[in-house]
């Protein structure tokens, strides 16, 4: 008995991250799904926590938005209060303690990574609060496809270009093999001196097969209207709208 729960938007994702000599590359696809419907073609799954700490999320989309919003707020307050840059381990601990409190019911699976004064770090944080450290990893429904590429091609101390290409190829494998991933990808390259965000990148196989010559153009008045009324706006002079 009882009702079926409403279908929530899931990121149904491929997210990938890999460390290289002196930095870190993270990336995600941009498809959000609700069952078999593509709910959003260009959703942002690479979340900024601080200037040099980013989080990629898989799982329940609303939870990821809210958890990363909370983390970035708290980390910014921490930076202002201490006058130092926040560390990746701090972001991780805040995330895991929050998620553990909710016993896995907040469906956020995160890859938290970044560069801080102690070097580059990459962690994975599960919805139930489990965390692990990795040199490279993938998460989400497309992670199986992505991890094969990482396992085959990852090597320690790669150059920035090598790492970027590896993460992009792993993401493309995920987008190719997993129905819940696709449309476009976003990358972020984090180094001690600068953070570069790249995207949205649309791989060739994600483009529409041919340019659409066919256009549905309706002539003005082709829809039968029963009743129509136009409402002009009132001009309110007392209200100040010049923020």
């Amino acid at each position: 008995m009882g009702h079926k729960a409403p279908r929530l938007t899931s990121t149904g994702t491929t997210i990938v991250a890999a460390a290289y000599k002196g930095g870190l590359v993270m990336g995600a696809d941009s498809r959000a799904t609700a069952g078999n419907i593509i709910a959003d073609k260009h959703c942002e799954k690479v979340h900024k926590l601080t200037e040099s700490i980013y989080a990629c999320g898989a799982g329940t989309a609303a939870d990821l938005d809210q958890v990363t919003k909370m983390l970035s707020g708290n980390l910014r307050l921490l930076e202002l209060n201490t006058g130092r840059k926040a560390r990746v381990i701090t972001a991780l601990r805040q995330a895991k303690q929050h998620l553990f409190n909710y016993q896995g019911y907040i469906g956020a699976y995160l890859l938290i990574g970044g560069v801080d004064p102690t070097g580059p770090h990459l962690y994975m944080c599960s919805a139930n609060g489990t965390t692990m450290a990795f040199p490279y990893t993938a998460q989400g429904s497309g992670s199986y496809a992505a991890i094969t590429i990482l396992e085959r091609d990852f090597k320690p101390d790669m150059t920035k270009e090598e790492a970027e290409s590896l993460v992009q190829r792993a993401l493309e494998a995920g987008m190719h093999g997993d129905n819940a991933s696709g449309n476009s990808l976003n990358l972020v390259v984090i180094e001690p001196t600068a953070t570069v965000f790249k995207g949205p990148i649309i791989p060739d196989f994600c483009k529409r097969p041919e340019p659409n010559d066919l256009e549905y153009k309706f002539n003005k008045g082709s829809t039968k209207v029963l009743k129509q009324k136009a409402y002009k706006y009132d001009i309110v002079e007392s209200m100040d709208i010049s923020h």
């Binding site: 009702h3 279908r7 129509q228 706006y233």
Partner: protein, 205 residues
Amino acid sequence: MSIMSYNGGTVLAMAGEECVCIATDLRFGEQMTTVATDKKKVHKVSDKVYVGLAGFSSDARTMLEKIMFRKNLYELRESRKIRPKVLGEMISNLCYQHRFGSYFTEPLVAGLDPDTHKPYICAMDTIGCIASPRDFVAVGTGQEYLLGVCESYWRENMKADELFEATAQSMLSCLERDAASGWGAVVYTITKDKVNVSTIKARMD
């Protein structure tokens, strides 16, 4: 049957060049029985900002009351009109406050920025995950049909009258295949100097 399709109903919003369209069907049902045929799911929040609430009707109404309450307080405190993006964020937070016992309604926001007239549309799920694409959004029982047909009908930089035709025709196509929506539709075309409210002729079965 899911509570989301208990009453039925569909809302669609499309963005054009300095204009947006938001359309709603008029059916209100209880499972397969049609109870009322004049139920609008789109509500005026401000001059150029409209919100659509599909899903379970009682929750949609409660949600609307909470939205109006918060929007009124915002406009009094800030002494300026609310922008559609702000309203979207506000509704999203309201939805997420009820994360583990959500209102069974999917909100949709469509409007123009009161200063720049930039169009804004967004839809969200029951717990407030915002999807804000540049083309079109749909919520409700006819969502699947609408997303498919809009993908063909929507074009870049449509003017108000083109946008109205595209929105109305998408809505009519959807009503043709969704049994839980129908009994006519109302399309609101929001432009920078007026709002056109048009009742569309549709099938009454």
